[in-house]
């Protein structure tokens, strides 16, 4: 056996300072929580925001470095930075949404903000993971914190139920993921992504251990990104969780899972692409179709957005199944970026109507919203149109890139199914817009001027949706560049995708 050599651990402050900033922030929140009354817990939220800002600034130093630290355990590349920046923004907006909501819903307390910060820490680890152990640790740091957050309204039976279902299926899927990691380790002799790639590429015969490991990993990640048929927990967890946490799960958790998923499959398992691409094809078709069809009949908006999130994971999988080139991979990254801002904006409006104790999360509650609150209704309409894929919004550009990439790769049938699904999805997204603008009714919504954190979150989400839709080139360039950096090759065709 090779002895463990501690003198050559290849220490790098650059790689871990953002993580240290976040964990210090979380610990400070927990310590400060013993001195702060629950009514003043918004101050604790600001500590997390400061830690996130520090993590963001420290992450920016990693931009363009494209190296690895800790003997390859952590990647310091543009791919990691791309996901870390989106995750940090999504977490910051979640905290901003929570500042007023937490007090209203009785979620106040240091644990709430500390758990959000620890979850974000796990997500950053997943984005930067260079080996399978780090992916596992990041995933669990994130998941365990989010299990607790989903059940944070302790007296609410729905929140309890969301937490237990999310926990049981999450832990169940972790078992599969871990078994996949074990088999992959046994088949290739390493847990480093680069070493696994080299070992698989050099192999001539197909190893059954390897294929079994691949299948287990697909099941594990299928659960984490909520692809059909591994989606059963999603609607329940999204509906029952506190609404800002639903936004957190739909955006940050999903992006972190995709960050790990894409990294493993494109940097170390890509020699097996002929094996996994058809599986992703099937998962994409099932996720899009089941997600959109079941969303049609939902009456609760959180549940509808949960099925919509499943469908959108399907669209991202379309790009992944087809991604045999780096433009296609870049398109998936751009898709996730657009999805993140759109979902944050939409869930921000859901938080605005949901006042914790008296939950107004039925689609009927949105009737007449445009008359009393034209700003909120307009923000919701923009986000829903973006989710549908209406130009010139972010969702349209993202779908265009993904579908174009899939067509280029020869996946015509898959693209036809995806486009048909987009048409179906228009029905339920537009249904909410019709309710807001053309129906009478409505519930009392507290003035937004008293909720600046929420207002800023919605504004950032909507601004992102419009900016990514009208002027996509720099962001698409960043996405293609990020994907190329994960592959360790320069972006050769970064321009060819741009219209």
């Amino acid at each position: 056996m090779t002895p463990l050599n501690l003198t050559t651990i290849d220490f790098s402050w650059l790689a871990i300072l953002p993580l240290i900033a976040l964990s210090v922030g979380a610990i400070v929140v927990m310590l400060a929580g013993t001195r702060v009354d629950d009514e003043d817990s918004a101050a604790l939220g600001f500590i997390v925001l400061v830690a996130l800002l520090a993590a963001f600034l420290l992450t920016m130093f990693e931009l363009g470095q494209n190296t690895a630290a800790f003997r390859g355990s952590l990647a310091v590349d543009d791919y990691a930075v791309f996901f870390e920046v989106i995750i940090i923004i999504a977490t910051a907006l979640t905290v901003a949404m929570s500042l007023e909501y937490a007090a209203d819903a009785g979620l106040a307390g240091a644990e709430y903000y500390a758990l959000v910060a620890f979850a974000a820490l796990g997500m950053l680890l997943m984005a930067a993971a260079g080996d399978l152990i780090i992916i596992f640790l990041g995933l669990e740091t994130m998941s365990i914190a989010v299990y607790a957050l989903a059940g944070f309204i302790r007296r609410d039976a729905k929140s309890n139920e969301a937490a237990i279902k999310y926990f049981l299926l999450g832990a169940f899927s972790t078992g599969f993921l871990l078994y996949g990691i074990a088999l992959l380790y046994g088949a290739t002799g390493s847990v480093r992504l680069t070493a696994i790639h080299a070992s698989i590429a050099a192999r001539t015969a197909v190893n059954p251990l390897l294929l079994l490991g691949l299948g287990m990993l697909l099941i594990g990640f299928g659960f984490k990104v909520a692809a059909v048929p591994f989606h059963m927990w999603t609607p329940d967890a999204y509906e029952g969780a506190p609404t800002p946490i639903t936004a957190f799960m739909a955006v940050a958790v999903k992006l972190a899972a995709f960050a790990g998923f894409l990294r493993i499959f494109f940097t170390s398992l890509d020699p097996l692409a002929t094996e996994w691409s058809p599986v992703l094809w099937a998962l994409a078709v099932l996720s899009m179709t089941a997600g959109n069809v079941i969303a049609l009949v939902q009456s609760n908006i959180k549940r509808m957005l949960a099925y919509s999130a499943i469908a959108h994971a399907g669209y991202a999988l379309v790009g992944m199944a087809a991604a045999n080139g780096r433009e296609a991979g870049g398109a998936v990254l751009y898709y996730l970026l657009a999805y993140a801002f759109t979902s944050l904006g939409a869930f921000g409006v859901v938080v605005a109507l949901d006042r914790g104790a008296e939950s107004h999360a039925q689609i009927d509650d949105y009737r007449g919203l445009a008359r009393d609150h034209p700003g909120l209704a307009a923000a919701m309409a923009v986000c829903l149109l973006s989710l549908t894929g209406v130009p010139p919004l972010a969702g349209f550009v993202a779908k265009f890139y993904v579908f174009a990439a899939a067509l280029n790769a020869g996946f015509t049938g898959l693209v036809i199914i995806a486009v048909l699904n987009s048409v179906v999805s228009a029905y339920y997204y537009v249904g909410v817009i019709v309710a807001m603008y053309m129906r009478e009714g409505g519930v009392a919504v507290e003035s937004m001027s008293r909720r600046p954190g929420l207002l800023i979150s919605i504004a950032v989400g909507v601004a992102g949706v419009i900016a990514l839709g009208i002027y996509p080139q720099p962001y698409m360039g960043a996405a293609v560049n990020a994907f190329a950096s994960a592959l360790g090759r320069p972006a050769l065709h970064a321009v060819s995708m741009l219209p």
Partner: protein, 100 residues
Amino acid sequence: MTPISYFLVLSALLFAIGVLGVLIRRNVIVMLMSIELMLNAVNLAFIALGRQVGSIDGQVIVFFVITVAAAEAAVGLGIVIAVFRNRATVNADELNLLRW
């Protein structure tokens, strides 16, 4: 020396028992135990495979998995207690407020 396949088959069997336990049993605590069984089956596979490929990584991972499993059990039992206080049941079939 015992061939590696013995360990891998044992690990696969334990894992399968764990999966079946989660799928068949309806008591949330028994489901939690079954998940722990799955994770320990993986630990066995890690140790056996680590021995076979001749690197220490497999044994190091097991420590991480044990730690994570402990944290997961702590959070999971906490959630079970919260559910039991509100609903006075730990039967998965009776937790049906959220559906469709």
